[in-house]
């Protein structure tokens, strides 16, 4: 659905437009949020944050909204900022002993954030490429397990395998991935 179609839909039905925006971008928003909150938030916290983001988006969208331009970029920015706020709140609540001081927060918020850093970006591109080289279902298993923090059981249900098979494939895939990354010149130091 294009931005123009979203605008058209908004003029016809606000709830339908909300739904369309949600369907288009929920995976994207979820991926951003889990990237920031996976270490301090539960699954509930992450879903709560995602729903907060969409609530904010709905509040900003109305019949006069100009959907042209970089809607995805806008959504990405809202998502990141909301997730960072949630991270700060959850870190204090969990009494974590390493603090997100202003310097770190600047890193997360700035345009030259960790995600945008070109060196890390290139490395991430290579790592993702190697994960895809594993082939299915291994690449899905690795991403779901280590990016999305899914359990073996959840992964098994999503790809119609047994959880034992998933765990075994995961273990084997990790070993293969180590070799592939080593061939690409990415060692342990590059992953931290």
């Amino acid at each position: 659905m294009t931005d123009a179609e979203l605008k058209e839909l908004m003029s016809q039905s606000v709830p339908k437009c909300h739904r369309a925006v949600f369907d288009l971008y929920c995976n994207y928003v979820y991926a951003i949020v889990i990237d920031i909150l996976r270490n301090c938030g539960t699954r509930e916290d992450i879903e709560d944050c995602v729903s907060d983001i969409f609530m904010k988006l709905y509040k900003r969208f109305d019949v006069n909204t100009d959907f042209s331009g970089n809607l995805k970029g806008y959504i990405g920015t809202i998502s990141r900022n909301t997730a960072i706020d949630a991270f700060r709140r959850l870190s204090v609540h969990n009494n974590r002993n390493f603090s997100i001081d202003e310097n770190n927060m600047e890193e997360l918020r700035s345009d030259d954030s960790l995600m945008e850093n070109s060196e890390k970006k290139e490395q991430s591109r290579i790592i993702l490429g190697k994960i895809k080289e594993l082939g299915e279902p291994d690449s899905t298993i690795i991403i779901q397990q280590y990016y999305y923090n899914r359990t073996a059981k959840e992964i098994a249900e999503s790809i119609s395998m047994s959880s034992a098979a998933v765990q075994k494939r995961s273990s084997r895939a990790k070993q293969r991935l180590k070799l592939l990354l080593a061939e690409a010149g990415i060692g342990k130091e590059g992953l931290i």
Binding site: P15, E47, G135
Partner: protein
């Protein structure tokens, strides 16, 4: 952007999750609008028109393997340090200690004999258990190097993925010629109750698995066995989609049983790192603990101590069997986490940002680097670890004693509980 690609190529949300999140977002949006229209305040009235939003409480998911991280390099070397001596194994708790003073020498000797006999029974059964696991997991099998097969394996569901060559060797182990042989091997050392308990919980319509909770350690999966590839000619192509993603670790071919060579390597640390320690003797059985230093009970190839397991044994119809297995603390994993925690939270002399230690508490990135110099069961251990700087150069030499205050069989999984461990005798030295 990478997140873009991940979200597009690996979407993870189920329909149920999407509906739940969408419903939450709509509810919050509607409540927000409702509040603006209906909430009024005065000095005396209560807040009106505000609906309390109760965040749905989802069941908390157990983290099964959250400490895993993709590691590439590890420290090589390190010598085996633990050689358990058989005559140190009798740490039994048969009776109230106050009774010991009144025991005769004969009674004491008798108890030691019983404990020693129990330890030998445990030694025999646990070794057979390790042997079966190594055959299955590490392919520690005798093979005929002159009877081999080669296939080109590809996946039609992933266009563009190159086919890879897979080699097979015919297995000559007489007691491991099929998936049933592995099952029967396990049945011979497990009680029927244990086998059925592990088997029934974790099997489905088209697969069979034995899994030991709580760490989801599996003993076998039928999807690894017995796919017959006889219809394929040698050196021909095989589509993984046709064999339903069979792991192709073990196959049959023209009535022969073959094992793949991919993970076929000598098993260096393929056994237990300690002799069974008998901890309890009852009328009809006994319990013993032992450290398992083999897959799937270890997380790294450099492990020297491994995971503490408790085996319960009973005598059924004159034959000793394993009636239960309880998984406790993995010593390398627990010690590595304690060191990581020290540098993140307690160390004043070095900035974590200058070290090659991730601040991500889910990642146990020192696990491959830690060396356990000595240990007192699973209660404490002396550790040694080289810490690298951010550039990957060896920077610090770390030594300490890690004391675990929580019962490893209850808290083995929850190593991130800081109250479960403490460090003493810490020595940190900069390397030149």
């Amino acid at each position: 952007m990478i997140i873009d690609k991940i979200s597009e190529e690996f979407p993870v949300l189920t329909e149920a999750e999407k509906e739940r999140i969408f419903a939450m977002s709509e509810k919050k949006y509607n409540m927000d609008n409702h509040d603006k229209e209906n909430v009024g305040f005065d000095d005396e009235s209560e807040v009106r028109g505000v609906e309390q939003y109760n965040r749905p409480i989802l069941s908390r998911l157990t983290s099964l393997a959250a400490a895993a991280v993709i590691l590439v390099a590890g420290i090589s070397g390190g010598t085996a340090f633990m050689k358990y001596k058989k005559n140190n194994s009798a740490a039994t708790e048969m009776n109230d200690p106050t009774e010991a003073a009144t025991e005769t020498i004969t009674e004491k000797e008798e108890k030691q004999d019983i404990a020693s006999e129990c330890a030998e029974i445990a030694y025999r059964l646990t070794n057979r258990f390790a042997e079966l696991e190594n055959k299955y997991y590490n392919h520690a099998l005798s093979v005929d190097n002159n009877d081999t097969l080669t296939f080109n394996v590809y996946n039609s569901d992933v266009p563009g993925q190159k086919a890879t060559e897979k080699h097979y060797f015919r297995v000559t182990d007489t007691d491991f010629q099929s998936g049933d042989d592995l099952k029967n091997g396990l049945k011979s050392i497990f009680t029927d109750e244990l086998y059925e308990r592990l088997f029934s919980v974790n099997s489905g319509e088209d697969y069979e698995t034995l899994i030991i909770e709580p760490q989801y350690i599996y003993l076998f999966s039928s999807s690894d066995f017995d796919t017959d590839l006889s219809k394929y000619e040698k050196n021909s192509a095989i589509d993984l989609a046709d064999v339903n993603y069979h792991s192709l670790d073990f196959i049959t071919y023209n009535e022969g049983f073959y094992v793949s060579s991919y993970y076929n390597k000598p098993v260096e640390n393929g056994s237990f790192s300690s002799y069974p320690n008998v901890i309890k003797i009852k009328k009809n059985g006994f319990s013993a603990t032992v450290f398992a230093n083999f897959n799937p009970f270890v997380n790294t190839e450099t492990s020297k101590v491994g995971t503490n397991l408790q085996f319960d044994f009973v005598c059924e119809e004159g034959e000793w069997k394993i009636s239960d297995i309880t998984v406790g603390r993995n010593m390398e994993s627990a010690a590595a986490y304690a060191i990581k925690d020290y540098f993140i939270n307690d160390c004043d002399d070095y900035d974590i940002n200058d070290l090659m230690i991730s601040k991500d508490v889910v990642i146990n990135d020192l696990e491959e680097d830690v060396i356990i110099l000595s240990s007192n069961g699973d209660k404490s251990c002396k550790v040694y670890c080289i810490i690298k700087d951010k550039n990957g150069n060896d920077f610090l030499e770390f030594k300490a004693t890690v004391v675990f205050t929580n019962d490893g069989f209850k808290y083995g999984r929850n190593i991130r509980d800081r109250s479960g461990f403490s460090l003493t005798d810490i020595k940190v030295k900069e390397l030149q």
